[in-house]
């Protein structure tokens, strides 16, 4: 049964856990909730507009097309792999930036954020210049035979460069939030630094790291600009975002929107799934 207490705006928790609030507090809560409502409604309206625009034929075309399903699979595995790679870097980097004082730490901290500030196209352009115009890049491509340009590996590299900063930044913030005294106590209890990291810091930073992983995956999944430049739109390297671009560029706007909705659906399922696995109450984005 609804009561006045549990239908009112206010902080989370059981009704009797909340403090007694005056009308100004209620106005403040209502104002906060207003912005939450406006944002959510706005996003939902945009999605609904897309849904209303397309018809069942477009959905059927999108869901049965070999190219679209191939692009979906390409998007999922490349963004998952780039997220894993990003986390592989993010955890030690976040820990090092949080815990160690070394010359150039502030510079390193700033460089970590650079890819976030880069226009996405610049990431693709930079990678293209590096691998095609520099001796080191050509050596990697030609002599080592690790080809990135116009290859699926290039998709993963683009996604990694464009999105890893989110994972690193989140991991650093998460480790910053872990009190150093926990690690110190672990050292006196018999841990080496590696042990205190694995047994104490990492579990306590887990939620922040998962949140960073979600952001990274979401960013990688929707990446478009650098891919157009660095890997192109050929059949073997097509992801959902580039497929949407191709469909709308030839006038198939309904199919493009149907694919966009598929992308949103997959992202929603994945993000919700990760949140549930990671502990929905604890994952803070």
């Amino acid at each position: 049964m609804k009561t006045a207490a549990n239908t009112s705006f206010g902080p989370p928790g059981r009704a009797n856990d909340r403090p007694v609030r005056g009308w100004r507090d209620r106005v403040f809560s209502a104002a906060s909730f207003f912005f939450v409502s406006v944002f959510i409604v706005f996003v939902l309206v945009l999605i609904v507009a897309d849904v209303l625009y397309i018809d069942s034929q477009a959905v059927l075309t999108a869901l049965t097309s070999r190219f679209v399903l191939g692009a979906l699979w390409m998007s999922v595995w490349t963004s998952s792999l780039s997220t894993l790679l990003a986390l592989l870097f993010a955890v030690p980097m976040g820990y090092a930036l949080s815990r160690f004082r070394f010359p150039g730490r502030f510079l390193a901290d700033a460089v970590v954020d650079l890819p976030i500030v880069f226009p996405p196209l610049v990431v693709g352009l930079t990678l293209l210049v590096f691998f095609s115009q520099t001796a080191l890049g050509r050596w990697i491509q030609d002599d080592l035979g690790i080809e990135f340009i116009f290859q699926p590996k290039g998709i993963v590299l683009c996604q990694f460069v464009a999105a890893a900063s989110f994972a690193i930044r989140s991991a650093k913030t998460a480790f910053d939030d872990v009190d150093l005294r926990f690690e110190n106590v672990a050292l006196t209890l018999g841990c080496m630094q590696w042990g205190s990291f694995c047994r104490v810091s990492l579990p306590l930073a887990r939620n922040g790291i998962i949140a960073g992983g979600i952001l990274t995956w979401a960013r990688a999944m929707g990446l478009f600009g650098p891919l157009i430049i660095f890997v192109g739109t050929a059949g073997g390297v097509r992801v959902l975002s580039t497929t949407i671009f191709l469909e709308q560029s030839v006038g198939n706007l309904e199919v493009a929107l149907a694919i966009a909705l598929l992308l949103i659906l997959v992202a929603l399922i994945a993000v919700t799934g990760i949140r549930l696995v990671g502990g929905s109450a604890m994952v803070k984005l």
Binding site: N184, G190, M192, R199
Partner: protein
């Protein structure tokens, strides 16, 4: 036995200045001092959590100055206890045993000694201040250290619980024969447990001796002022 020889530790503007002290085996030593005097830093130096600029630390005659914290066999209870919030009470107490690959049989025995056996399955979040203090103590004691360092172990507790815990600390210390350094700024607490006390100020050990000596024969105006707070107002103003 703990012996420090002219230890110097520097961080920012603060410095522990050539601090030398000897604490006998099985002694209950209270380290007094105002906030910011270096009490916690001194304990962290003993634990190996801070690297000395110079000086030596000996435990039972063995030079441990450059020994890692895990190898010093010191039980350390930091301020606010630093219990691991992602582990249960039992997992907190058994943490050191698991790290060292030792049997966890002693967990129940230690919990029993401290009267917290009923808390073993609980999470840390739901514990009261007194319960947290006992869990932190159990976590340190279960490893059977020779030395116990307590950083303001009862400051967060109410008066009644504080007295009760102090009595318990002293009883355990006597029973196990632990060499104990207990950091405090509370004189009543110090009187209730200390064999001897030392007063630290600005990183310098001002005076060391039995509590009565610090109260009745202060060697400086600062010691006199510090020790005459609270109930010892009979010490004349200088």
């Amino acid at each position: 036995m703990i012996r420090t020889e002219k230890i110097i530790f520097q961080v920012g503007q603060f410095e522990l200045k050539r601090l030398s002290i000897e604490i006998a085996a099985g002694e209950y030593f209270i380290l007094l001092g105002p906030p910011g005097s270096g009490k916690t830093v001194f304990l962290e130096c003993l634990c190996g959590l801070k690297r000395l600029k110079s000086g030596r630390i000996y435990i039972d005659g063995r030079d441990v100055t450059n020994l890692e914290p895990r190898l010093r066999n010191i039980g350390y209870v930091p301020q606010d206890y630093a219990l691991f919030p992602h582990l249960s009470v039992e997992q907190n107490i058994s943490f050191g045993l698991r790290v060292r690959g030792r049997s966890q049989d002693e967990v129940a025995e230690t919990a029993d000694m401290l009267g917290i056996k009923q808390l073993l399955s609980r999470s840390i979040a739901g514990l009261s201040g007194g319960e947290k203090q006992r869990v932190a103590l159990a976590r340190a004691l279960v490893l059977q250290p020779k030395i116990l360092l307590l950083d303001e172990p009862v400051c967060a507790l109410d008066e009644v619980t504080r007295q009760e815990v102090c009595s318990q600390l002293l009883a355990i210390q006597r029973k196990l024969g632990l060499t104990t350094i207990h950091v405090s700024h509370n004189l009543e607490e110090a009187f209730s447990v200390a064999d001897r006390a030392g007063l630290l100020h600005h990183g310098v050990m001002q005076q060391v001796g039995p509590m009565d000596e610090l109260v009745n024969e202060p060697n400086s105006e600062f010691v006199a002022r510090f020790m005459r707070r609270d109930k010892h107002s009979e010490i004349p103003k200088s």
